[in-house]
Symmetry: C2
Subunit: 121 residues, 2 copies
Amino acid sequence: VRPNYLGEHFIIELFDCDQMVLNSIPKLEAMMLEAARLAKATVVSKAFHQFSPYGISGTIVIQESHFNIHTWPEYGFAAIDLFTCGTRLNAESAKDFLIEKCNAQSFDLSKIKRGILNKNV
Amino acid sequence: VRPNYLGEHFIIELFDCDQMVLNSIPKLEAMMLEAARLAKATVVSKAFHQFSPYGISGTIVIQESHFNIHTWPEYGFAAIDLFTCGTRLNAESAKDFLIEKCNAQSFDLSKIKRGILNKNV
């Protein structure tokens, strides 16, 4: 059965994370690429940027949409978005892996459907 | 007064858009860059990809987080995320501009706060 929506979006808030992870581009890039692999996503491109004095933004464009992370090491906080299309992907595995890798002491997760078509049918 | 959250995230669903816009990288790229300018954001990098046979994914990394778009021209649908940090930015202007440029006949907008700290205080 084809779902009546086009994408699924995990909005993840990670609190009290390992600050060394959150302020390291090599660590975050490796982590996000591994998360994409675990989700069975196909990586198209990536862009990571270090901000001054703290904080990193990273995007992994995947064939099936994108994964984003923004970190605030000074607050031990990371905001992650996993936007996937298609039923083949496993965003749950990616989410679990990221929470563990960041050593988040608590997290919030919202799952929203994107592109709900024929709402009025 | 400093807000108790780190970022604001506009989740925008655009329905019944101009399909010619949604399947044109030059149009979408120019549109997203103009949206960033209207929001007073500083563009750091961008990545746009055409998928086969239809659909485009685009990310604009800005100094103050990111703007994303994914399009499904065959459904006239676009999913847009505007994630901004700081109180200086004007995501409202960007949002209004994007709705107009895509000629969306209807839209949904959710605004969520990212990085709400000291939740238990």
